[in-house]
Every structure is written in C-alpha cells, then in structure tokens.
C-alpha cells in the first residue's frame, strides 16, 4: 500500500511535466 502511494504521488509529481513537454512539442509542430 505504501509503495503504491509513493509510486502514485511520484507520478503525480513527474508525469504532468513530462506530458506537458510532449504537448508543447505537438503544439509547436501544429504551428509549423
């Protein structure tokens, strides 16, 4: 349970930034 919580919160901390980085690439490509 503890590992799940740590894993989940680590994802909450890291994934939005990673996804946002890819999202920015998509938007840039659409611009081009």
């Amino acid at each position: 349970f503890d590992e799940n919580i740590v894993e989940t919160t680590t994802k909450r901390k890291q994934y939005p930034r990673k996804i946002a980085a890819h999202f920015i690439k998509i938007l840039k490509t659409e611009r081009e």
Binding site: R12, Y15, P16, I19, L27, E30, R31
Partner: protein, 178 residues
C-alpha cells in the same frame, strides 16, 4: 510545544526530544533496581552503572536514528520549504485543490495554459494572415484591373487595325476599278 507557531524543524526536534526525555525518565533507576532486586542487593554500584549505560546507549541510539532519518528524508530542507509554503498560504481560508485521483482530469489544468497560449498565437497569426491576404487581394484586384485595361487597349488597337484593314480593302477596291 506551541504547535502552530514553531517552525516544523524546531517542532520536530522538540517533540522527539520530549519523547526521549520521558521515555528515559520512565526507565528510572528505582524501577530498574526493583526489577533486578536480587542483583541490586548484591551489586548496587554495578546495577547503577548498567542502568546508566542502558539509558545513555538508548539515548544515543535513538538520537542517531533520528539524525539519520532527518538526513535520509532531507527533512531539514523539506520542513523549511514547507514552513515557507504554509506561511505564503496563511491568507487563504478555503481548502486548496487536491488531486482528484482521475489523472486526465488533473492533467487538464496542466495543459490549459499551453492551449491558451496556442489560442492566442493562432488568433494573432490568423489576424496577420488576414491582413496579409487583404494586401494580396488588393494586389490581385489591381492586377485584374490592369489586365482589363490592357485587354481594352488591345481591343482598341485591334479594332483600329481592323478599321485600317477595311480602309485597305476600300483602297484596293478604289485602285482595282480601271
């Protein structure tokens, strides 16, 4: 410890210290001697020194453990950061946002600023393109007019030459009659 005022690190140290003091105080020599009554009667000094060693070893072991936990957990830095964040939020009374547990929902807020930025860019780009196309349209219209004009000129010139053609026919006729 007045819990709401003291910075976290201070609170943490104070609470652990208080815990340790009370724990050691509860292991009093009376109690220890009482539990080892027969040995205490035989060797009171040894009993006292064993008791003293017991307490000091317990204290240093627990203190070392606490220091290790603080170091491994980077607690000093994190407590200081958290104190600052809490301080900055002290005017906010409403419960703050918390993860909803639905990733795509929580992700939306992350993406909104980028989409708004894209929207602003597209709006600006669209306006620029419209202005540019308006200019081009003006050039196209001017070009159409110019071509119309040239076509009219050519039409006039070719009509003139056709008229000359007619005149020439008449001349030939006129010349042709003996």
């Amino acid at each position: 410890v007045r819990v709401e005022a003291a910075p976290r690190l201070l609170m943490f140290d104070k609470i652990v210290k208080t815990f340790l003091e009370k724990l050691l105080a509860s292991g009093s020599f009376q109690r220890f001697a009482h539990c080892y009554q027969s040995f205490y009667n035989l060797q009171p000094e040894v009993t006292a020194s064993v008791h003293e060693k017991f307490l000091s070893l317990l204290q240093t072991s627990i203190q070392d453990e606490i220091d290790q936990v603080k170091e491994e957990g980077n607690l000093e830095v994190l407590f200081t950061i958290l104190d600052r964040i809490v301080e900055e939020s002290k005017d906010k009374k409403e419960p703050a946002w918390r993860p909803s547990g639905i990733p795509e929902e929580d992700l939306r807020s992350w993406l909104v600023p980028y989409i708004l930025n894209q929207k602003q860019y597209l709006r600006k780009h669209h306006r620029e393109m419209q202005e540019e196309n308006a200019k081009l349209m003006r050039s196209v219209l001017a070009g159409r007019e110019k071509i119309m004009e040239l076509q009219q000129q050519i039409q006039l010139r070719s009509q003139a030459w056709q008229a000359i053609q007619k005149d020439k026919q008449q001349l030939i006729l006129a010349l042709g009659n003996p």
